[in-house]
């Protein structure tokens, strides 16, 4: 009860950031880069264990952008020039150029390596079909529906492979799902394909949109848990979920990942208390609002430490510990 987790990405240590640039320039090979990614993954697994996080993530040391990473591994995708996403941050937006085909697993090796380092559960991490489509340019499929459903079948194969590799928790991120409320049924249909027959606990992370426009319809998304950001909006969006009652499990974001400022334990506890006015202790986990990759390594660790300490205090207050 009141488990702690993370959304997905962690900051890359400076040696890995440098190595990725060197790899891009052809100065180091694949093996050397993978070794450094594994070293960084090991450091993050150890850090999460030491901090006391319950459900771990591998930290996405091998990924740049959450869409482009998968697009680069799928036949049919190309990658565009740089497009701005926020402030001075840019990414290479994928382009669907022909029919999409998955030739090999995309995330299983990273999951298996991370899980081999710890006895705590590590989440399998993927980007969902609606977001993959919405954050790509499409020059091939006739309609958005065609593209989303093609991606759904591909991501289902990946989810099934993660489950077969031992993943007990599989997170299929859909941050774009709240952007077009008129397409929520398409996103739900796609997720039904993705999670069809899957026994692992499925989670979907959604952030920085207007949840009001998709609630309560989003409760029909065929996953076990939703992971939503609340700290960024000062928990004002909690009210949306009071009526009708929230029926799934939920991971509540209680740390602002886009601020260098470290929240105090009391601030985080206040957010947890407010969340527990809306959700029952049995249905709730706590985590940062989103991936922590834009923070420094120290900032990210400090934020996770405050999260764990705040949750432990609340558990003591509730006599759950």
């Amino acid at each position: 009860m009141l488990e702690t987790t993370s959304v997905g990405s962690f900051p890359k240590p400076p040696y890995l950031t440098k190595a990725r640039v060197e790899h891009q320039r052809g100065r180091i090979g694949d093996t050397e880069l993978v070794d450094l990614e594994r070293r960084a993954t090991s450091e993050w697994i150890r850090a999460q264990e030491q901090i006391g996080i319950d459900i771990l993530v591998h930290g996405e040391m091998e990924r740049g952008d959450m869409t482009t990473y998968f697009a680069e591994q799928l036949e049919g995708y190309g990658v565009s020039g740089l497009v701005r996403s926020y402030g001075n941050r840019y990414y290479r937006k994928p382009i669907i150029e022909s029919a999409l085909v998955r030739n090999k697993p995309m995330s299983v090796a990273a999951f298996e390596f991370a899980q081999s380092l710890t006895s705590r559960p590590v989440k399998g991490m993927l980007t969902g079909p609606y977001t993959m489509c919405d954050w790509s340019f499409d020059e091939h499929y006739a309609t958005r529906r065609d593209a989303v459903l093609a991606l759904a079948h591909i991501i289902h194969e990946e989810v099934a492979d993660l489950e077969a590799a031992g993943a007990r928790y599989i997170q299929i991120d859909e941050p774009a799902i709240s952007t077009r409320p008129d397409e929520i049924d398409l996103a739900i249909a796609a997720m039904a394909i993705v999670t069809d027959g899957i026994k692992a606990t499925t989670i979907s992370h959604i952030c920085y949109g207007d949840f009001r426009t998709i609630y309560p319809r989003i409760l029909s998304l065929p996953v076990d848990m939703l992971d939503l950001e609340f700290a960024n909006s000062h928990f004002n969006n909690l009210d949306i979920f009071r009526t009708p009652r929230f029926t799934k499990k939920i991971s509540v974001g209680v740390l602002d990942v886009h601020s260098h400022v470290l929240e105090s334990k009391e601030q985080v506890k206040e957010g947890i208390r407010r969340s527990l006015e809306v959700f029952s202790p049995e249905q709730v986990w706590f985590d940062p609002d989103c991936g922590l990759k834009t923070r420094t390594v120290d900032e990210a660790k400090d934020k996770l430490r405050v999260l764990v300490e705040a949750v432990q205090d609340i558990k003591r207050e509730m006599r759950l510990q």
């Binding site: 497009v83 926020y86 952007t179 949109g209 886009h258």
Partner: protein, 330 residues
């Protein structure tokens, strides 16, 4: 008859096509390895190159590409009293984010957020220019109101703020200003208040104004817009094709702007299709309207630089083809 223009933000980085990298300079500034003066110099160089790209492509009215602006609202919030900068939020249905301004006190004009860049733009080119600023209705919607007790007071103060920006742009020598009003079609129940706010902002100002809306259909809101004392009304006709006929259907004393090329896809529209649309506009009486702008549907900054340039060129080629059919036939 047709004037090719651009809407809002243009790409700020050039993928090596020009000798300036604003992104890198800003990154260096964040690491305290570049000075504010170096960032300013990079911004100005970037504006110069976006001007030269537009000139080379044959755009008829040049903009500064809003190189200094990341979104339509936060620069206004940063320049004037009554705002704080809040949490991150997605910019419509794009994978683009901005920090949502929070209105914490009475909105008061301090100094123009747009005029200085317009003066600089003027120094970069002798060609006709188009300035731009956020319209009052969308400014209010972009922000989170934690001060005003009622929307009427909020919109009235947003309108006065935008009015002062328009006056500052007029003082700086602007002939035309594009007012971003993307929220118009998203709030049909508020269209009377929206129209009142825009009227308060533009009535009697010394610039020609183009009210431009994007990402939405104007189907339920177009009629009251025609009564506005603005020079032209424009809309995204690429993702909402019905806007094409809606704009054609207005009174002949109003100018129009047709957003014909989809600014959010790398798919390049066939030249023939744009040409046919221009011919339809001629049939619909474009020659009788005070002005007929054609443009991308929204900001080209949603595209990589190379694709943005291709769209720009496709637009101007189509306009040139209509202007000089005989020369093209040769």
């Amino acid at each position: 008859m047709f004037e090719a223009i651009l809407i809002g933000n243009q790409p700020k980085i050039f993928d090596g096509a020009h000798p300036v990298n604003l992104r890198a300079v800003r990154n260096q500034f964040d690491k305290e390895r570049a000075t504010a003066a170096e960032v300013e110099a990079a911004i100005r160089d970037t504006i110069r190159f976006t001007v030269s790209d537009q000139t080379d492509a044959g755009i008829d009215r040049i903009t500064d590409g809003r190189i200094r602006w990341d979104d339509p609202a936060t620069p206004l919030a940063a320049a004037h009293d009554g705002f704080a900068i809040g949490g991150l939020i997605r910019y419509f249905d794009n994978n683009v984010y901005y920090r949502r301004p929070v209105i914490t006190g009475p909105i008061k004009f301090v100094r123009s957020a747009a005029a200085e860049d317009f003066r600089f733009l003027k120094s970069c080119t002798d060609r006709p220019l188009m300035a731009s600023v956020c319209g009052p209705f969308s400014l209010a919607r972009f922000c989170q109101n934690e001060h005003y007790q009622d929307d009427g007071s909020l919109l009235a103060d947003c309108a006065q703020l935008v009015r002062r920006e328009l006056s500052a742009l007029a003082d700086a020598g602007a002939e035309w200003v594009q007012l971003d009003e993307p929220f118009l079609g998203f709030a049909p129940e508020r269209i009377k208040e929206a129209v009142a706010a825009i009227r308060d902002a533009v009535d009697g100002v010394r610039v020609k104004t183009l009210v431009y809306s994007y990402f939405c259909s104007l189907k339920t809101v177009i009629d009251p817009l025609w009564a506005l004392p603005v020079t032209a009304i424009g809309a995204d006709c690429a993702t909402h094709p019905e806007n094409f006929a809606l704009l054609c259907g207005g009174p002949s004393n109003k100018g129009r702007c047709f957003g014909l090329l989809d600014a959010r896809t790398t798919r390049l529209e066939p030249a023939g299709r744009i040409g046919l649309q221009l011919e339809r506009l001629i049939d619909q009486g474009a020659g009788q309207w005070p002005v007929c702008f054609v443009s991308p549907s929204a900001a080209l900054e949603f595209l990589p630089y190379e694709n943005a340039v291709r769209k720009m060129k496709r637009l101007t080629e189509a306009v040139r083809h209509v202007r000089q059919p005989a020369a093209q036939a040769d």
